[in-house]
């Protein structure tokens, strides 16, 4: 009997086109992604690598969950819906046969469908390279196991969970809509686990909690290097195993309980409404008017519209699915608002601009779901419910019906925009933050969110009017958005005017409000709203009323309405749309030079191909700059007039000057009264989007004839006049350099000569354009030219700098140097700065409305340094932390690394359009979003405000005093040392334990960075990536200090500084110079560590298997370790091999219970911490400690690079002394 039903189910399903459509969908998507190489694999990872395929399978299994709802939700619901179920009573079918037959039959179909993805990706990996859609070298060997294994371990369990869930939901509720609810619950669990996964500390919870295993997979494969991604199958063990077992178990429970619950009588008998005994009413009123005055004047249409809209809103608000989805959205809204996006685990104060920025993330998804589905529901409600046959006979006009449906949804949109406002106010209030910016809330709600939502409604509305079938309408709407998403994210199209409702990105700032983004939002919102209105009005000609809704009759009716008043108004809106579009097009394409992503790539290619010949051309260097800058922040314009001195420091004659003007406009170079003539060697094809006046574009590279040839040693004085103008608005980008309040730009002069940074770096892209592969970015360590050239800018060595800046009267303008004079002239405010000691040609200009905190720090040599902190008036929360970092750092760094070269040190806040701080000579712009608003309420928080300030201050030594040269790895002189110095300073202030979290983050960033390496991982001494010079740098230098001791470390750094500090003539410092000083101060026994960390890529696998303790006396224990250790060397692709060595020095530690120190910070209490020489493999050792051991292990502070840092320490098993007695 089971087989009859099973077979029937299969036959039925295989006769339905849907089965094949689902299969084809998975097949096609996988085929295309793998075939054209649009997988997440980085360049050194194959598109068919086991990890890539596993990720693909996992993603497809998410689609599979939607499919599961369609496949597993209906088999028994079908019998309920068609009332065939009642017949089943009369047949000799057992419950088991029916239930199992239907379930397994459907599940078999689901499994069949899931093979679409496997077959698709397999064929993609064969046909893609064969037809040249993607390089053959991007595909590795095609092993069957690579496909089947992830399917078995990831896809199948997901399908099982989804299948049992949806099947059980139907059994329990008998309501097909409950599937939505089931889906949403799973989705919510998934989102929760995603939130946990963002913090390294809670990642274990995330790994187990994620029903789809997506976060689990993400975390488990996070550190796999390209080599490993190409070669390893992800083993199901540890958290992944737990996860799979848990969710398989949940599926099993659902399956069993559904089976137990199911029986024919209950399931198929109609729902009996609770019958309350109706009481006989004795009261029947004797007189009733059944006749009322009716009127059908124009007022009737208006009041009908109102009542229709009102009942529409009630229909939505009373819908339980609306409530459920909205509730889900609100929960996530609160999560997003409450936690925000913490940096180093520290949340920010809930300022309004952050609240409105965070409202969109998850809540936006829920809003999208609500709008897409309820707009469709609304338009089809009357037909679907059968009420249309009544409603359509009312004397209300079609337009009033259509308008009322739209108005109903518009009202829902207003509610949806108000929810985040209330959630935001509640969040702020509960956090004790009362500085509400209601204006920001309202502008964001009504001028940004609401137009977004309304536009969404408009498109969906038009689609449903046209399609006139609920499910087809839903599907079409989703497909339209999916298509836009795919085109933007995978096909590289980004021209906002062509993507419905898309606008240039924007960002709120506390300093600058909505700033210049308001303009583009206004135009784009007008454009899309006009277009949306056109869509709704125009497609309402397809509105069908009555029972006759065949396609032909609708088309006939629609044709008749082409000239109706509605249609005419729609044409008007189309014209408005086109007019607005024209204005936007002009601004984006003409004023802001829009380039497609292909064109941008081509620009780089042309730059390299046409100009590479000039790369090593001798050019003069700047020796002095006297900058006069006039800033017009409210016009977003700056005018520059720079008197510069150039010197020929080469040994050949120079007759022309090569300048790249970058974003500057109107560059005029004057020699005395003469204007230098130039030519533009680089030519580019006309812009694709240029419609009128197509002509080839000229590059920004100019070659100027010098007034006379410069012989070696010759000097030349020139004046450079230029402007920086932001006009209109671009397609994307923040244009943050010059803004109303918070200007910060360092692009004021043209750059000299060819700039290799412009070249394409991706080797596969380079190959596409016939460019040779690019291995290293910089020259070798001993390269003559490289050692003579500075890293930050090759336009100068050291220069004299002076600046006079004018700005609007309510702002303060700042540039490096000491303020000489400040005055007001012609309604403008002037500042004159002179830097009286030489600096690199690395300066900036800042202008904003500021409050200033002034302070002073005396250095060990008795000199005084003025400290100035320029901040936005509300942002005084963490001023003491910035100040303390400056004060502590000035003292400690000058004592340890040599004297400070300036008499002042400044910190300047700038709007959070970017999240970084940057160190210019005695001047540090520091982003609003990077610590000014951090909320350090937990004493254990990592004070990244202090740390980053210390880092930027350290750059005054490492970077400005000791200027790195232009050779491989030289950037570590600047970044790794700044990171290390800041770490030391922060440790002095906050203690060792407080560094643990930060170091774990550094380790995570390093390991994650190398896993995503797209070329090859360099050794540290040749470092060329941020994850190396920041993250690995701080780990290994901090480690080195631990090995050789602080004194030796400081001696090494001091002697390195002494060799290079303020050295204005080449050779400049490179990574080998630092290495030399470190090696000199490292004892022979530890040279291996230096070698391992700098010249090799070294990883450890340290693990504590078990630690036991035995009490030998009062408060004395014998602790026995069972540990494993192995050192590994990795090659540049990430392939590891075991190192051969006798033993390395590694910490062995025993800890008693943690407690709190006097500052309330958590304190770990080591009762034993010694370096032991640990040989590779398994080791047992015993130590004797005083105090109760609680935790113990190998390398407990994670000083060594280890991919599983968590297993280094275990709880100590204390053997009870009673055993012995």
């Amino acid at each position: 009997m089971f087989f009859n039903i099973f077979n029937f189910e299969l036959k039925y399903r295989f006769s339905r086109p849907a089965t094949y459509i689902y299969f084809a969908l998975l097949f096609l998507v996988s085929f295309v992604l793998v075939g054209v190489g649009n997988t997440p694999a980085t360049e050194k990872v194959f598109h068919n690598a086991p990890i890539t395929l596993a990720f693909l399978q996992l993603t497809m299994s998410l689609f599979g969950i939607f499919l599961a709802s369609a496949v597993m939700g209906v088999p028994i619901y079908r019998d309920l819906e068609h009332k065939t179920g009642t017949f089943l009573f009369s047949y000799p079918i057992s419950k088991t046969a029916y239930f199992m037959g239907r379930f397994w039959g459907s599940f078999f179909i689901l499994v069949f469908i899931s093979f679409g993805s496997i077959i698709g990706s397999y064929l993609g990996s064969i046909i893609g390279p064969a037809l040249g859609w993607e390089e053959a070298s991007r595909y590795g060997p095609n092993l069957l196991m690579n496909y089947l294994y992830p399917w078995l371990t990831l896809t199948l369990p997901n399908l099982w969970l989804a299948g049992t869930l949806f099947f059980a939901v139907i059994v329990f509720t008998k309501n097909i809509k409950a599937i939505y609810a089931g889906g949403i619950i799973v989705f919510i669990i998934y989102m929760l686990s995603s939130i946990f996964s963002e913090d390294v500390a809670s990642s274990s919870i995330a790994q187990i909690l994620d029903p789809f295993g997506l976060n689990t997979f993400d975390i488990q494969t996070r550190y796999l290097t390209p080599y490993e991604q190409n070669n390893f199958l992800l083993q199901v063990e540890g958290n992944l195993l737990l996860n799979r077992l848990l969710w398989f178990g949940v599926g099993a429970v659902l399956f069993v309980s559904a089976y137990a619950r199911f029986n024919f009588e209950n399931f198929f008998s109609p729902k009996v409404a609770k019958t309350k005994k109706e009481k006989e009413t004795t009261k029947i009123s004797s007189i009733k008017r059944l006749v009322a005055n009716v009127s059908f004047t124009n007022k009737y249409q208006w009041s009908s519209f109102k009542t229709l809209a009102k009942i529409e809103v009630q229909n939505v608000l009373k819908d339980v699915y609306f409530k459920v989805i909205l509730l889900g959205g609100v929960i996530f809204l609160f999560v997003d608002l409450w936690f925000g996006f913490p940096l180093y685990g520290v949340s920010s104060l809930p300022v309004t601009s952050d609240i409105v920025a965070n409202r969109g993330f998850t809540y936006g998804i829920f809003v999208f779901i609500i709008i897409v589905f309820f707009t469709g529901e609304s338009l089809h409600r009357d037909k679907a419910s059968g009420y249309a046959s009544i409603n359509d006979t009312f004397p209300v006009k079609d337009s009033a019906i259509v308008a009322s449906k739209f108005a109903g949804m518009a009202f829902i949109c207003v509610l949806l925009t108000l929810v985040p406002v209330f959630a935001g106010l509640v969040t702020q209030t509960l956090n004790g933050y009362f500085n509400y910016h209601l204006d920001v809330y309202l502008i964001d709600a009504f001028l940004i969110a609401l137009p977004d939502y309304l536009q969404m409604v408009m498109l969906v509305f038009a689609i449903h009017l046209l399609v006139n079938n609920k499910f087809a309408g839903h599907a079409t709407s989703v497909v339209v958005w999916l298509a836009m998403l795919i085109l933007r994210n995978f096909a590289g199209y980004d021209f906002n005017m062509f993507f419905f409702s898309y606008k240039p990105g924007f960002s709120w700032s506390e300093m600058n409000g909505l700033g210049h983004f308001g303009e583009s939002l206004f135009w784009f919102n007008s454009y899309w709203t006009a277009f949306g209105i056109f869509l709704v009005l125009f497609f309402s000609i397809f509105f069908s009323r009555g029972t006759d809704d065949g396609f032909k009759s609708r088309l006939r009716v629609a044709r008749g309405r082409l000239t109706s008043a509605n249609a005419k108004v729609s044409y008007l809106f189309l014209i408005i749309t086109i007019a607005l579009g024209g204005y936007i097009f002009k601004s984006v394409v003409y004023d802001n030079n829009y380039l497609t992503s292909d064109e941008a790539t081509l620009s780089s290619v042309s730059y390299e191909k046409q100009l590479k010949q000039y790369e090593h051309l001798p050019q003069p260097k700047l020796t002095s700059v006297n900058m006069k800058a006039d800033l017009f922040p409210y016009d977003r314009e700056a005018h520059f007039n720079a008197e510069v001195t150039l010197v020929n420091k080469t040994d050949s004659n120079i007759d022309s000057l090569h300048l790249d003007i970058g974003q500057l406009s109107d560059l005029v170079v004057m020699f005395g009264k003469d204007t230098l003539q130039y030519r533009t060697p680089m030519k580019l094809a006309p812009r694709k989007f240029q419609v009128f006046g197509k002509k080839p574009r000229l590059g920004n590279y100019r070659i100027m004839a010098l007034p006379k040839t410069m012989a070696p040693g010759d000097t030349l004085n020139l004046v450079m006049n230029s402007k920086r103008i932001f006009k209109g608005f671009p397609n994307a980008g923040s244009g943050r350099d010059i803004v109303y309040n918070g200007t910060f730009t360092s692009e004021t002069l043209p750059t000299i000569g060819y700039n290799p940074q412009v070249e394409l770096t991706s080797d596969s892209e380079r190959k596409k354009y016939d460019l040779p592969a690019k291995d290293y970015d910089l020259p070798a360590h001993d390269d003559e030219l490289g050692r003579r050239t500075l890293l930050f800018t090759d336009d100068a060595d050291f220069i004299q700098f002076e600046a006079t800046i004018s700005t609007v009267p309510d702002q303060i303008a700042i540039a490096p140097g000491y303020l000489q004079r400040e005055w007001v002239e012609n309604g403008r405010r002037y500042f004159h700065y002179i830097q009286d000691t030489p600096i690199q040609a690395f300066f900036n200009i800042v202008s904003a409305k500021y409050d200033v905190l002034k302070s002073e720090q005396e250095l060990p040599n008795g000199e005084k340094v003025n400290i100035e902190i320029f901040y936005h008036s509300d942002h005084d929360y963490n001023l003491d932390r910035f100040e303390a970092a400056y004060k502590d750092g000035l003292k400690y760094f000058s004592e340890t690394y040599g004297s400070f070269q300036f008499r002042q040190m400044r910190l300047l806040e700038f709007p959070k359009y970017a999240s970084f701080a940057q160190s210019f000579p005695n001047t540090v712009p520091f982003s609003e979003g990077f610590g000014w608003l951090a909320d350090f309420d937990d004493p254990d928080d990592f004070d990244y405000t202090y740390f980053v300030t210390a880092h930027e201050l350290a750059h005054q030594w490492w970077g400005h005093q000791i200027a790195p040269n232009y050779t491989r790895g030289a950037n570590l002189v600047s970044e790794a040392l700044a990171e290390y110095s800041a770490l030391v300073l922060t440790e002095r202030q906050y203690g060792k334990d407080n560094m643990t979290y930060f170091l774990r983050n550094e380790l995570d960033d390093y390991l994650f960075g190398r896993a995503n390496e797209s070329k090859k991982e360099n050794t540290f001494i040749n470092c060329n990536r941020a994850y190396q010079w920041y993250n690995k740098g701080s780990l290994i230098l901090y480690g080195l200090r631990d090995y050789i001791g602080e004194e030796a470390m400081n001696t090494a750094l001091r002697s390195f500084a002494d060799e290079f500090a303020l050295k204005q003539t080449p050779p400049f410092a490179g990574s080998t110079d630092l290495y030399r000083h470190l090696a000199e101060n490292t004892p022979d026994s530890l040279q291996y560590y230096l070698e391992d960390t700098w010249n090799k890529i070294t990883l450890y696998e340290n693990k504590a298997n078990q630690v036991k303790a035995e009490k030998i006396a009062e408060d004395e224990y014998l602790v026995t370790f069972d540990i494993n250790s192995q050192k590994l060397y990795a090659d540049s692709a990430g392939m590891e091999s075991k190192a051969e060595y006798l033993g390395d020095f590694i910490d062995i530690g025993v800890f008693s219970e943690d407690d709190k120190d006097e500052n309330g910070r958590t304190r770990t209490n080591s009762i034993y911490l010694q370096k032991h020489k640990i040989s590779p493999g398994q080791t047992s050792l015993t130590v004797r400690v005083k105090g109760v051991p609680v935790r113990a292990g190998i390398d407990p502070y994670n000083k060594l690079i280890d991919r599983m840092p968590d297993d280094n320490v275990v709880d100590v098993e204390v053997e009870s002394s009673s055993n012995k007695e």
Partner: protein
Amino acid sequence: MVNDKIYIVSYNNHTYLLTIIFYQPTKTTMQLTIKNLTKTYSNGVCALNNVSLTINQGMFGLLGPNGAGKSTLMRTIATLQDADSGTIFLDDINLSENKQAIREKLGYLPQDFGLYPRISAEVMLDHIAQMKGVGNKSERKELVNGLLEKVNLYRHRKKALGTYSGGMRQRFGIAQALAGNPSLIIVDEPTAGLDPSERNRFYNLLSEIGENTIVILSTHIVEDVSTLCSNMAIICAGEVLMQGKPSEGIQSMDGKIYAKTIDKVELDEYREGHQVISTQLKEGRLSLRIYSDVSPGNGFEASKADLEDVYFSNISKKVDPITI
């Protein structure tokens, strides 16, 4: 122009005295004229074939078997769909050109309909009354309560319509059809799903209204028509087979109906020689009714004609009336 009338309404063996205040439309007579209406669906089914009918004020019964085209005709009059050809006039208003004007006068109870499941009866009916032109809020409230009471739903007015049983829903349907001041009421199979007492109640309600309005009642239950309607038409396979007063129909058959009880096996013999209009099983034997101008003898006895005979003799021209 308000005219008080007194009705006696019987309900569940109780008798109540009801006073109903009626608004007299200014125009006292109306006429619906249907001419040559034809409708063929895209699947080839000819639902209406050259239908012409003239319907005056009062109750008009539209009788026909399932699938005869009744609902198509009703929906066409209710402006829900267009005919392929032919015209419908309400007095001088051409329906296809001025649906709006028809809709303003219309009260319609479709055969199949649904309601918003989450809205309460009270709110829904208030909404519908507004849609039917009752603009005054307090007047509307009174009307809604009155109607709900009339159809015996007043107690359930706060309940969401989704919780209503089939009968309650049908009663709500009746209430909404009567809301406002319809002068053209179309009720399609209105008694489906009603128990006998509710049916009586509904008949009474209809007959109260029928005097000043056109009420078109479509049904396949002969009894509905014979109790209520002053005029009727029989329609089958899209064609009008008979039109007139029920009494005239019966009169035309009087003396021409003969009945006989036979064995089932004999049926075919009788079909050869007689115009059989209906058969009915009675205690295992067949009661046969035939139409004949003269007495057929052979054991047939003259029988008094009723509306059912009229119905069956008409539709037997189109479909085989024998149900065995």
